[in-house]
């Protein structure tokens, strides 16, 4: 059974009122994770193949080619986990 933990190394809440959440994918799984996400989420914009601006179920986020993602306006940890599960599992 595939789990979020298979792909995600760390989740960091940023400081600041924006309350962004940074998701860092496991180094050896990052390409797989990005490929899965790109299949499911809507690509709003792709910048130089380095950044992808995406939306999924009303949540906007950015993925960087080095295996890091910023999620905006996520209400809480449960919502983030649910979103990640829908995208990755």
């Amino acid at each position: 059974m595939v789990a979020i933990e298979d792909y995600v190394a760390r989740i960091e809440g940023t400081c600041g009122e924006e309350k962004d959440v940074i998701v860092i994918f496991k180094y050896d799984k990052k390409d797989d994770a990005i490929a899965k996400i790109l299949k499911k989420a809507k690509v709003e914009k792709s910048i130089s193949g380095i950044i992808f601006e995406l939306t999924f179920n009303g949540i906007s986020f950015r993925i960087y080619a080095n295996g890091k993602a910023i999620f905006r306006g996520v209400k809480n940890k449960d919502e983030l986990n649910k979103t990640l599960a829908n995208l990755l599992v």
Partner: protein
């Protein structure tokens, strides 16, 4: 003059590649990288001299004690303290501030007294006093900051009254690198009968700092921001003030005697001499050894050279950034009273996006509030990106940084 290319040879980490790019490390205000001399000194300690310090007669303990005491002496000379009794080793600036708040403040402040801070302080210089004020009931007053991020000196002076017992200010802002006129602030505090604690976390690693010349009562700084290891820092305090203070933590090392008195059923305790009175328990001996080596390294370069090198890098970067319409720099236009810390934003992008894009290209900067939320409120910012320099950074690195920043502004 400092030769950053020669300096770089001493820093093994700078040979690393990140995401197939040469590592460019511009997060020095958060922590500095470590030269091989510091790494080897720590390795040598554990390989050849490791033992607990003081009160043992065996050879290794004496060697460890000599190294650890030598570290205190080296640090004392570095900041021109009277002697090593005035340099207490702590975990870092945060612990040093807490030490003053609790060991001095808990016994010297009472309800109705006042402590003056400023709105440009790092949280570590705010939170201990706010916490303590909830226990004692003294007031905390905050001096204002001008729109350009410099301290409002008039407002600072106006906050003092006969009730003011302590002032706490940063020497250099960790957000915008502004260098405060500490000599003036000390004069103001002393004229009003107050003591002053200076947060030197961003000044001691980057400028010549002379505690006698500044006449500060307390100075706090961290080893890891000045080439030393994490977990070791320093509280300087004037000997005559430290002598009157009760200990912060209790335990071994900080006592001379603990004798049980059967008549009273209690223990009678006498405190150890300075600085050990404030260093309870087994200290971070290897950290002290690493810090000593870091201090020796900086002394060899010369702190004036460190300062001038960072000023050159700052001027070079700011000039570049000002050419870019979409980049906004925060802080004073006049760079003469500024260290190598540059906070900035890129139009329409969050600071975290900027930092992640740069990370993708091997460039490490910080994003967020940098533990100084009140100052960000003044700038009306939710967060900022921050580039900060040190002795191993070069103009070529800044060229590459600006090349990537310009790419970011095209997004």
């Amino acid at each position: 003059m400092l030769d950053p290319y020669k300096v770089r040879e001493d820093f093994p980490i700078l040979k690393r590649k990140i995401n197939n790019h040469n590592l460019i490390y511009f997060d020095n205000a958060a922590t500095s990288q470590k030269p091989r001399q510091v790494i080897e000194a720590i390795e040598d300690f554990y390989t050849n001299h490791n033992a607990n310090v003081h009160r043992a007669v065996h050879t290794l303990s004496q060697e460890a004690s000599e190294l650890y005491e030598g570290a205190h002496e080296e640090v004392a000379k570095f900041i021109n303290a009277k002697n090593m009794a005035e340099t207490i080793f702590v975990r870092g600036t945060t612990e040093a501030t807490n030490l003053v708040a609790y060991a001095w403040g808990l016994r010297s402040l009472k309800r109705g007294d006042e402590v003056v801070l400023s709105l440009m302080e790092h949280h570590s210089n705010i939170v201990p006093w706010e916490l303590l004020s909830k226990i004692i009931g003294f007031n905390v007053k905050y001096a204002d900051v001008n729109a350009d991020g410099t301290l409002n000196y008039e407002d600072f002076e106006s906050k003092f009254s006969s009730k003011t017992k302590m002032a706490c200010v940063g020497h250099v802002s960790n957000v915008n690198g502004v260098v405060n006129d500490v000599k003036h602030l000390v004069k103001v505090a002393h004229e009003n009968g107050a003591l002053i604690l200076v947060d030197g976390a961003q000044s001691v690693p980057h400028l010549p700092v002379d505690v006698k010349d500044l006449d500060v009562d307390f100075l706090a700084f961290s080893g890891h921001k000045m080439l030393g290891p994490t977990g070791i820092g320093v509280l300087y305090g004037k000997e005559e003030i430290l002598e009157k203070m009760e200990p912060f933590h209790g335990g071994g090392e900080m006592i001379k005697e603990v004798s049980f008195n059967p008549a009273t059923g209690r223990c009678r305790i006498t405190w150890n001499d300075l600085p050990w009175r404030f260093e309870a328990g087994t200290p971070d001996i290897s950290g002290g050894v690493g810090l000593m080596e870091a201090v020796k390294y900086l002394k060899k370069i010369g702190m004036q050279n460190v300062k001038e090198h960072e000023e050159m890098l700052t001027e070079y970067t700011v000039k570049y950034m000002r050419e870019c319409e979409k980049i906004k720099i925060y802080g004073p236009k006049d760079l003469s009273a500024k260290c190598g810390i540059i906070p900035f934003t890129v139009e329409d992008l969050s600071s975290h996006d900027v930092a992640l894009f740069l990370d993708n290209c091997g460039i490490m900067i910080r994003s967020g509030l940098h533990c100084a939320q009140p100052l960000h409120q003044i700038f009306k910012l939710q967060s900022s990106a921050r580039a900060s320099f040190y002795i191993y950074n070069t103009r070529e690195e800044i060229d590459r940084f600006m090349e990537v920043l310009k790419e970011i502004t095209q997004i």
